[in-house]
Amino acid sequence: MNSFVKNIIRFSLFILVQVFVLDKIHLHQMVTPYVYFLFIIWLPFRMGRTQQMLLAFALGFAMDSFRHHPGFHTAACVMIAYIRPFLVNLLIPQEGADSNYEEPSFKSLGGILPYMIFIGVLTFIHHGWLFLLEAWQFGNIWYFLIKTILSTMLSLFLIVIAEMLFTRQQKFKTNTV
């Protein structure tokens, strides 16, 4: 499938799943998983950073329009879209390996550990920034930290399940391009 069409389908599916399924979950009245930003994590390697940030902005804005108070998810999404390329450069196994595969996955980042670090860091930053903006103060730092850490763990759990359920076919391209 064309990657453009694929990403459009992903965009709308992630938003719908997030708004109508995951947002209804409140464990102990404070933990809600967020998974929709997998859209940003799964964007192709070769996409420009400007485009990534603009797409993240659009994703966050679409998410926010269901919440009727724009800004929160937009800020969090733009944040991880900005940080993502740095992480890819840090974690990619060898020079030029990002042109071997289409997009980040267990396979293309060379194993479970690098990929887990990759999604773990991005999820943590997304949740932390989102909850920080929502609370708008450092007031109760323990509550904020516990909420962020627990939500990150739950989201990561769901992301790993999603990765296992929907295995993405990653073709190995020769790096002679």
Binding site: H26, Q29, T50, F66, R67, G71, V78, E134, A135
Partner: protein, 285 residues
């Protein structure tokens, strides 16, 4: 000049990042509830449509609970019927009202409109409820919203032609005034953003005796919610050391987890009250 261009080109991504972040934070801070940007009306219409489609499916799962609450509300109303009371004396006789027009209608203050809840959130710090009824069905900004058992839910803050957005009590900017049923002292409602269904009532002085189980009702000071609507039941009373007030936490009468139907209350005298206030303001200037 050339250096500036070089700088912008070199750090273009970083500048774009700062711009987008700044714009988002600007939206968070400056999105006031009575200043609707143009986008919010159209986006409200679009997201409302999607919400309604999903709600038409999910509402079936809660039909039993909805029915039970409506039966309870009906029971309450039946018990208020005049026909249920019979006076033992002979002074009251049955009379037929010969006036065809309802002569009380011109004195009507509150009108209730039923509405279906199409979207509801409790997990965020600022929670909203979307009703499937909008400005073309008589909903206006600032109307109060209650649940079928007359527990206060919130105030309408955004209206499009087919949908209305309600700022629920579980919103950091929602500060309605509540009143203790027993003593009549009024205070302000605040939500700390942590536990849904638990709200604090601030501004009740320590001299007032409050115990667990006391009822809190709406004060009727605002034009949106009539006096005497149930707000909740006191769960916990502590004394605030820094001020002269109690710290009161109460459980809301409306259960925000499973709202299905709501009633929107129109105050027909809002205009009159507003115009008097306006006159008074002009006088004092």
């Amino acid at each position: 000049m050339r250096n500036i261009f070089l700088f912008v080109r070199r750090y273009f991504n970083f500048i774009l990042f700062l711009l987008l972040q700044g714009f988002s934070i600007y939206l968070i801070v400056h999105y006031s509830n009575y200043h609707n940007a143009i986008f919010s009306k159209t986006s409200n219409q679009v997201t409302g449509k999607i919400n309604e489609k999903f709600n038409s499916v999910t509402s079936y799962f809660r039909l039993k609970k909805t029915n039970d609450s409506l039966v309870a509300a009906n029971e309450m109303l039946y018990n208020k019927l005049k026909a249920d009371f019979e006076y033992p004396d002979t002074t009251s006789r049955l009379k037929i009202d010969s006036i065809k027009v309802d002569s009380m209608e011109q004195f009507r203050k509150y009108q209730y409109y039923p509405a279906r809840v199409v979207y509801n959130s409790v997990a965020a710090q600022n929670n909203f409820i979307v009703l499937g009824r909008g400005s073309s069905q008589n909903i206006k900004l600032g109307m109060g919203v209650i649940d079928p058992n007359s527990g206060v839910v919130g105030v309408v803050t955004e209206v499009s032609s087919g949908y209305a957005v309600v700022m629920s009590l579980l919103h950091k900017d929602s500060h309605l005034s509540g009143k203790l049923l027993k003593g009549g002292e009024t205070g302000t409602l605040n939500w700390d953003g942590k536990t849904p269904n638990i709200i604090s009532l601030a501004g009740i002085p320590k001299g007032v005796k409050v115990v667990k189980g006391d009822t809190i009702i709406s004060s009727g000071f605002s034009t949106s919610i009539p006096k005497g609507m149930m707000m909740g039941i006191v769960e916990e009373v502590k004394s605030d050391k820094s001020t002269n007030n109690h710290l009161i936490k109460f459980r809301t009468a409306a259960n925000f987890y499973n709202l299905e139907f709501a009633y929107v209350i129109e105050n027909k005298q809002t205009e009159e009250i507003k115009s008097i206030l306006e006159k008074e303001k002009q006088k004092s200037q």
